[in-house]
Amino acid sequence: MMSWPNATLGADTLMVSHNTAVYALSPKNGSLRWQFPLDGDSSASKLYAAPAHLQDLVLLGSDSKHAFAVKIENGQELWHFDATGNRAGTAPTSVSASAQLLFFTADNTLHALRPSTGIPAWTFQSEEELWAAPAADDKRVYLPGMDHRLIALDINSGAQLWQRELDGALADTPNLSNGVLYLGSLAKHAYAIDAVSGSMKWRFDAAGWVWGSPTVSGNRAYFADLDGNVYAVEAETGRVHWQSLPLESAVRGSPAFDNDTVFVATDGGFLYALDAINGNQRWGLQVDSNNADRLLADPIARDGLVYVTAMNGEYLIMAYHQDSGQLAWQFKPEG
């Protein structure tokens, strides 16, 4: 199974997961701080899940159905959780974190793990595969499923509180903002769902599948579809502010937002900066790595830089200046 590399930005560490290893880099200059595993542990292969972090701990998910908790400062393993007993499926794994628990999905099962020990507090079994980790607040866990259902669970017991059937499969972690869940589906729709009741606030009809969950900033939600369209809508009502001209190829990930700019990366290997007010293109570039394409992960924007991972090409991750699109640094693993 192959997937694209995913990145997560902690307080001062940028982590990139890619097949056999997770690399922790300095976000400023891309220098390598640590990598996990060091010894080529076979159970730690297929590390495609975007890492999740909780204070000084990082949770890594391997498609060989193991989750590893490591220290964010040096990558030292604290514990690991083995879900291989559940042999029935072969779905990708995913991880996320709340203030109290860490979440790991493997096949149809959500494991809610205690951060200190890795022992499950509870588990939840879904009817279909789970491709995305849940979002959570201090009361509830919101689990998206490939069976088109968004399910809310009690964070203490894992008991089901409500469920909402949507039009398509849900393959990305919802974005929780001000008590509203924003998410897309593999059915040309983006949704805003009330986190307490599960009622739908609005549904937006897009031209293509909206895989990545909308990114919310202020009163706007930004998202893109697999036909290469980028949208800005009113977060409260779903009313459209602007829609970009279709980009040259599909946009899979959620857009990144910083400094009134929306950043999107495309399957064809381009990174675009769009004006958040009107959707006009500020700059667009083909990433510098040789033959790089399939920029399918979510880009990340912070502190004047935008980070993008590439599936093919020489470099694993590249950082560009937000204002000019100039390359700041790029990283490729040794060997």
Binding site: M1, M2, S3, W4, R87, G89, T90, A91, P92, E128, E129, W131, M146, D147, H148, D167, G168, A169, A171, S185, L186, A187, K188, G208, W209, W211, L226, A250, R252, D267, R294, L296, M311
Partner: protein
């Protein structure tokens, strides 16, 4: 080009059939395989008829070889007279050549049509003819499970009381059906010691092993394709040669004996030399052969009686 010509049409047809056949991907694969076989029928029927013809000549070939032992030129001449033509077998290779791109196309299409990872889901979206599927989102996720199988992964059956080792059921079936198909349709060889005969023998050993290896390594959906294609080929061969079909014993690895259908010997063409023709009548025909001959005679007599007497009258 490759995508547009083979992979995308196959992928979309698989999905279309999946929707029509109650969301069963196995049925969809079986039906598409049969459809492909039907499209190739003009090519494969010619190949199979030619193979059957050669196979039916086997007793004659042996007889010629025995009769003219030590006279290779005469053997060739007499074989030519009875219509033995290894060159015509070459024309029969064309369907094999056509089937390789189809095989690769099927493998890639199965991977696309049943995405088990996010990357393949992106590829599926790009391959899908969305106008064919007004309700496309409801097909997703495509159910890739059937009985114990995950059709997107190599087949292994894990028994609950012995969960550490997976049993490759489908690869074994791929091997057996390929062996069966090859044994049934194997063309005869004029001289078992010549190079082409040796090549044929090694092909017959290697091909089933190669397909079984593919089945072990690649998605079990591909194994379903192999098995269906083999069974369809056997069925087609039996139908095309139904009048001359007989059951013979075949040994498979493990010392197991199977009854398999085979094409019976054909009557000699009129061109055959009188010497050979005389030699052909066995001094001691088998009881089965005697029965067949007397049945044919009886039928002919009955037909004449029905017409109102013999032709001589």
């Amino acid at each position: 080009m490759w995508n547009q010509l083979i992979i995308f049409p196959f992928t979309n047809t698989l999905l279309l059939l999946y929707g029509w056949l109650g969301n069963s991907f196995v049925l969809s694969l079986v039906v598409l395989t049969i459809l492909i076989r039907m499209l190739l029928l003009p090519l494969t029927a010619k190949q199979q008829k030619s193979q059957a013809k050669m196979q039916a000549m086997q007793p004659e070939i042996k007889r010629v070889q025995e009769k003219y032992k030590g006279e290779p030129e005469r053997i060739q001449k007499e074989l030519k007279k009875i219509g033995y033509s290894p060159a015509s077998m070459l024309g029969g290779c064309l369907p094999m050549l056509v089937q390789f791109p189809i095989l690769i196309g099927m493998y890639r299409s199965i991977e696309r049509a049943i995405p088990h990872a996010p990357l393949q889901m992106v590829d599926l979206y790009q391959a899908a003819y969305t106008s064919w599927f007004p309700d496309f989102p409801n097909l997703i996720p495509v159910n890739r499970h059937f009985l114990w199988m995950d059709l997107s992964h190599p087949d292994r059956l894990y028994l609950p009381f012995y969960p550490d080792i997976g049993i490759p059921i489908l690869p074994v079936l791929v091997y057996l059906t390929t062996v069966l198909q090859q044994k049934m349709m194997a063309p005869p060889t004029a001289d078992p010691t010549d190079q082409s005969a040796q090549m044929q023998r090694s092909m017959m050993t290697m091909m089933p092993l190669m397909f079984a290896f593919f089945a072990l390594q690649f998605s079990s959906g591909l194994s379903i394709y192999f098995i269906t294609a083999n069974i369809a080929t056997i069925g087609q061969y039996m139908y095309l040669n139904r009048e001359r079909l007989e059951w013979i014993n075949m040994k498979i690895p493990g010392g197991i004996q199977l009854k398999i259908p085979s094409v019976a010997a054909a009557p000699l063409p009129s061109k055959v030399s009188p010497k050979l023709s005389a030699a052909r009548t066995p001094a001691n025909p088998t009881p089965e052969a005697k029965n067949k001959i007397s049945r044919r005679k009886e039928k002919r007599l009955q037909a004449r009686k029905a017409k109102g007497g013999s032709r001589r009258r």
